[in-house]
Symmetry: C2
């Protein structure tokens, strides 16, 4: 038998474990041209909250009663397809199932010798690509500029900061505990860190941490943290709107200071970023990321949770910031 | 004697006539290398509200007790400077004085035969340049796209819409009276118009007026009008933040719906626009605007108020939308 995790309910506000169902089905068999895959690593990501709702968005919503899908690294356990043989590893967007068949469409073969398998869901997968593309394509960092990153200890944020350092920026990260802030500096080489949970006046603290103002703000969270950063955006500043985890569970329209007067005063820009828009640049980006990783210029951080049954809880824990770096479930 | 208008007070909220002083001084005489100028037309513009405050901004604040300065067309009445002779007309940033001397720095000679003198404060001056640069450099209109303009019957807005039409867009304008909305369609060739004063649910009205959504929003006003437009921004939409007249008199931080979730969902951008950043492109832009004007492709609208003494009131009337098109005072 085969365990499958499906969408039980469309959550109102914060998702709960009861929004997921565990179902069993017969373990499938591959047809000619297909492979049987065994799930090894499952990626859980904040953007998936959006797919649990049926509101219009940039990716189709999950269907009620159907399996959740997301980034997965799987092992080929049976192959009736050319180019893929038993023992190969692949990554791609797959269902939350212990076993599944695939025709190989959209799958990428990954090399377990070149990097740990979980890295293909993180630094060499969508996480690394999001950091790389968002920072370089919208943030356009220049040497000597100041980069502020929110959600800095998270999967994307920690990579953004490191690429900022490679590009010669002064980098300040915002995270949710003293331990995370320490990690930003000791492990990821950030120049400064701010614990937003112990900060009363984010604007004042940003002013102190960024004496030359903020040229680039890579924003993974939005909300009040961002209000403080917006106060110190420099002329021609760039705000990369990569995530808004502060609002993903909102049940009414979140309100805040209007940004137009600031944007005009500073000739600044805010731009929504979705990594999928830059697909044609992925191969070049993965090559560069792998090179930096090989040269020891990029540290990556993972929180690995064990057990297929723990996938929903690992996802829910993202909204409490329980992860350091990329949250991955090892099956 | 010579009359001068100075800044009497830094206004709190909405400016009043008492924030301006009328003073008299001896009529000045030009020294060698200088000209004596007689003010003929004075431009009053919403952005000047910002200069009345001492808050940090992109232009230095006016000084208390010193003359207000702004766009002016003046006649050379006495010249001790090469290249300028009695009877010439010039435009530039000058003081609100009946007469003043200048060394010619920053002045541009204008031709009263080629266009009415007031046009050099409007369609062929900063107004036209703001519309042209903001729409083309940030809005990047493509044929068949939908362009929404707020403050559409104003000086900048009416030109933005017409350039949008020249570029093949479907253009919808938002203005503050049925009469203005009628003018948008009959005089400026907009495809549709919305009177925001009689609109309760701007979002619903925009949805109706823009069945294909909004690709470009050229925003002169911000505030609740913009909230309605933001709801219907298309994927890869561009929001040109040119003005925020709804907030210029605000005495506390204006609040509104947070834009980050929308920007991310739509991969959209908001960018603050200040025409001065594009100075190197002005000559080419003025040439193009003059060509369109000559070909009858651009209508321009002016509200001309008479009398030097009425300059402050004309400025204040901008905040009641009493102007149609560019507000100019003829001395």
């Amino acid at each position: 038998m085969n365990t499958v995790i499906t969408l039980a309910n469309r959550p109102e506000g914060r998702p709960k474990t009861s929004d997921f169902n565990f179902e069993t089905e017969k373990k499938p068999s591959p047809q000619e041209g297909e492979v049987l895959l065994e799930t090894k690593y499952v990626s859980v990501d904040p953007y998936m909250r959006g797919r649990m709702s049926d509101a219009e968005s940039y990716v189709a919503p999950f269907e009620l009663g159907k399996p959740i899908e997301g980034g997965i690294v799987a092992k080929v356990v049976e192959s009736k397809k050319e180019n893929l043989t038993e023992g190969d590893y692949v990554s791609g967007r797959l269902d939350w199932k212990e076993y599944q068949v695939s025709d190989g469409e959209g799958l990428m073969k990954v090399d377990p010798e070149a990097a740990p398998l979980s890295a293909y869901l993180g630094i060499l997968g969508m996480t690394g690509l999001t950091a790389y593309m968002g920072l370089l394509e919208i943030g356009k960092p220049k040497e000597g500029e100041t980069l502020v990153v929110s959600g800095a200890a998270g999967a994307v944020g920690s990579v953004v900061g490191q690429i900022g350092k490679i590009k010669g920026c002064r980098v300040v990260g915002i995270a949710g505990s003293d331990e995370k802030v320490e990690l930003l500096k000791s492990k990821f080489g950030f120049d400064g860190g701010i614990n937003y949970k112990t900060t009363e006046d984010m604007g004042a603290v940003i002013a102190e941490a960024c004496p030359n103002g903020v040229d680039i703000y890579f924003d993974n969270v939005a909300g009040e943290i961002s209000d403080g950063v917006h106060q110190h955006i420099n002329q021609f500043g760039r705000i990369v709107n990569c995530g808004a985890i502060a609002h993903y569970n909102a049940t009414s329209m979140p309100m805040g200071p209007r940004v137009e007067p600031m944007l005009i005063k500073k000739s600044a820009l805010m731009q929504g970023f979705i990594v999928g828009n830059y697909e044609e640049k992925f191969p070049e980006a993965v090559k560069q990321l792998a090179q930096w990783l090989g040269e020891g210029k990029l540290e990556h951080s993972e929180t690995i949770v064990e057990g297929f049954d723990n996938i929903p809880q690992a996802f829910l824990d993202l909204f409490d910031g329980k992860n350091k770096g990329k949250m991955v479930v090892q099956v």
